[in-house]
Symmetry: C2
């Protein structure tokens, strides 16, 4: 299997995030901002990865992962989420600590070690955020049919299924507003212009920015 450099892995991860996420695209500038590099560096990298057949690249267009590129993304993502689960369950690190450490460890984790960690954890399907862990053959167990909070319909009640953010602020915010996995909420109203969503959670009304709500996943309460 193709072994990518750390820089390449991070670049491909960013594209993957852009392809999946609703609050981010895969234009070079967006990727550059995500990685903290210049636009020129992103274009440069795009050309190189295109030659390696990891992405499809047409000038001035969005970057798109090839099947090979997607495989790299899912491999790193699997290691990232396995480490997050492991660091949380075994070493008791907090939600934002596990992200920070997994962000490093994922790049120097052999397939062998990833399997050992997975076995030790009982081959979990999701990480502590509720995010699905890709399998070793690159499948994503999407059994929960979660949607982002921004997709929730006014009047409907949901349970929070995933909290997908990575920074301390996000988790502090969630915690102090009782936004936890399993908690029920009712979507009140969408404000298109201001890109806000109003929800009711534990008898409290909350106005959330749409960007934030794309890292909060919900599913219909059964």
């Amino acid at each position: 299997m193709y072994k990518a450099s750390i820089a390449t892995e991070n670049f491909i991860k960013a594209i993957y995030k852009g392809e999946q996420g609703n609050s981010m695209d895969t234009k070079p500038g967006t990727i550059a901002k995500e990685l903290g590099i210049t636009n020129a560096a992103a274009t440069d990298m795009a050309r190189k990865l295109a030659m390696k057949k990891l992405i499809d690249y047409e000038k001035y267009k969005e970057l798109k992962l090839t099947p090979d590129g997607t495989k790299v993304a899912l491999d790193v993502l699997r290691k990232h989420r396995l480490w997050e689960t492991f660091l949380h369950q075994v070493l008791g690190l907090t939600m934002h600590e596990i992200h920070r450490e997994a962000e490093l460890l994922e790049h120097l984790t052999s397939d062998f070690l990833a399997e050992k960690i997975s076995d030790f954890l009982g081959n979990p399907e999701t990480d502590p955020h509720g995010d699905p862990i890709p399998t070793d053959d690159g499948e994503i167990p999407e059994t929960d049919h979660s949607i982002t909070l921004s997709m929730g319909e006014p009047g409907n009640t949901y349970k929070i299924s995933r909290l997908s953010g990575s920074d301390k602020e996000f988790f502090d915010f969630c915690h102090s507003n009782k936004l936890e996995i399993g908690t029920s909420l009712t979507v009140q109203k969408h404000y298109i212009k201001t890109r806000m969503i109003e929800i009711e959670i534990q008898h409290t009304k909350l106005l959330l920015n749409i960007d934030l709500t794309n890292t909060i996943y919900i599913k219909k309460a059964d």
Copy 2:
């Protein structure tokens, strides 16, 4: 604290090994062979690390770590041995597997995570090989007064205290010849010319190469 690159960390580790070991010096060629790079690359790196005050470098002389360089070496060594201990005790990896994985993980392990691992393990003083784990402030707990097997005196009986090798062959050899931590042995005779040592272990005579015996540590049986 100065953050070294992976290449720099490995280079400094090799020098540290040469400074400590009895079977290896710190000449550029030796370091190059250890790392699998050319002599030219080793000289090149030596000049660069000298500019960063991590090593003392005089042309055609052996490479020597500065206090700063030694700090880098001990920091990486601490992380290496903490990972080895953790992977062995928690994930049950074999002796040569833990080395291989720790060799990677050590480079992307934050000080924060190292402390968490250490705490989890009850702040152990030695790793599964019996090698001392440097403390977070760069001290090496040398409480056991071990010596290498090559230093053992004929007629004396010792207990094996450390098995410091890294490759599978070494551990397979040790295992099949009952060379385990805690096992008693009696040094029989040194053969200077052929660089061999004869020992008796569990009523069996064994002839060992001196290079091998520098990774086997012993101490006087009490």
